[in-house]
């Protein structure tokens, strides 16, 4: 999962400081693996260096001063490219796809498009495996079937998520 892209996606809602970003990330995507502060700040400094975020003032508080970060136009383009590129279909997708769907909904982009692009990539890989299976021996068939069944499970998830997008959009907007 690309933490940089997820943070950029969260910044599209408006400028935030590092602690706030970590909290938003953990709440939406980090149930099992919350981010370390170090990860947040090193990612932000990389995004700053690449021109995907800019500093947007300092928030005064009781503790140390907190820098706020805003997404730049180059950052928005980068998020768009990420959302539009399917993940390489692998038996275990982890939660990247879920994050893409949520971030698409949060930013008013088409989550259906994200899901359709992914299902197409999955089916493309399944076609390749099916051809290999058809031309191959029993060992090929068994190896390909293993991958095919796992990819099929992903596709079922994609289909189910597509059917629940309206509900998810409501929950994400809360």
């Amino acid at each position: 999962m690309s933490i940089g892209h997820a943070l950029l996606g969260l910044l599209e809602g408006g400028p935030r400081h590092g602690y706030d970003l970590k909290r938003a990330y953990d709440e939406r995507f980090g149930h099992d693996r919350p981010l370390h502060y170090g990860q947040v700040y090193s990612t932000l400094s990389r995004l700053l260096k690449n021109g995907f975020v800019s500093e947007a003032g300092v928030e005064a508080g009781d503790g140390p001063e907190r820098k706020r970060y805003a997404i730049t136009d180059a950052g928005v383009t980068d998020v768009e490219r990420w959302l539009g590129t399917p993940e390489k279909p692998e038996p275990y997708l982890q939660n990247t796809l879920y994050a893409k769907v949520v971030l698409a909904l949060l930013s008013g982009r088409s989550a259906t498009e994200v899901l359709d692009t992914q299902r197409s990539a999955h089916l493309g890989t399944m076609r390749d495996l099916t051809r290999r299976k058809t031309d191959g021996d029993l060992a090929d068939q068994l190896i390909c079937d293993f991958a095919l069944f796992h990819l099929e499970a992903d596709l079922r998830w994609l289909e189910l998520t597509a059917a629940r997008l309206d509900k998810l959009a409501e929950e994400v907007a809360r």
Binding site: P86, D116, S120, A121, M126, T130, A162
Partner: protein
């Protein structure tokens, strides 16, 4: 070259809009999977494409002929000569032997019994069901019955085979065998296949997919 095109199809059943502006284009010899959740309109789209069901509005064109303006007689003639069909259940005549079932479309077109049965036997061998030629459908396994149905769909050398959930009632292994034999035979004879399925592993035998959601269809181009 484009063989079959549907544009702006609308079809309602009572208050339910099964098709809401769906369109699709099928090229010669390609295998296209129509996918989508239950109730999305994918079977209705197939039935309209095959001239089984008239749409409320929109056009279906096969080569230069518009199905939507043909009379019933001309449409059934087209279905008998140019199209083949495989459904999920109940398509074989239970009183006839499997061989007679495969030969039926040829006999209906006026072919002599001996010629029809000779051609049918070749197709049954190709679909690996020649061993059940003299049995009735009820005496065969589900997988064999479905392969007999595929042989019957292909025996007239159709230009398009419409298959609606052809593996829906089969286990994985038999389903794969039906799909392998169906798509191999179709590719060898140059027939296009329009396949409705909700199973991704079945759709993976196709060349491309069209997704139907809420009665609207969209081609999903895969970008590598």
């Amino acid at each position: 070259m484009t063989l079959l095109t549907a544009e702006g199809l609308y079809k309602s059943f009572g208050k339910t809009n099964a098709l809401d502006g769906a369109g699709i284009s099928i090229r010669e010899g390609e295998v296209v999977a129509i996918m989508g959740p239950s109730g999305s309109g994918k079977s209705t789209l197939l039935h309209c494409l095959a001239g089984i069901l008239p749409p409320d509005s929109g056009t279906v064109t096969y080569r230069d002929r518009e199905l939507t303006t043909m009379n019933d007689g001309a449409r059934s003639e087209l279905r008998r000569t140019e199209f083949g069909f495989v459904f999920q259940f109940g398509q074989l005549v239970p009183e006839l032997t499997c061989l007679e079932n495969v030969a039926l479309p040829l006999r209906l077109s006026g072919m002599k019994r001996r010629d029809a049965e000779r051609a049918s036997k070749e197709w049954m061998a190709r679909l690996e069901v020649d061993t059940v030629a003299d049995q009735r459908p009820g005496e065969t396994s589900g997988g064999q019955g479905q392969r007999v149905a595929v042989a019957r769909a292909l025996v007239t050398s159709p230009k398009v085979v419409f298959a609606d959930e052809p593996t829906g009632a089969l286990d994985s292994l038999n389903g794969e065998r039906v799909m392998h034999l169906l798509t191999t035979a179709a590719r060898e004879t140059g027939a296009a296949v329009v396949l409705v399925t909700h199973e991704p592993r079945v759709a993976a035998y196709s060349d491309r997919e069209v997704v139907v959601r809420d009665g609207r269809s969209r081609d999903v181009e895969f970008v590598r």
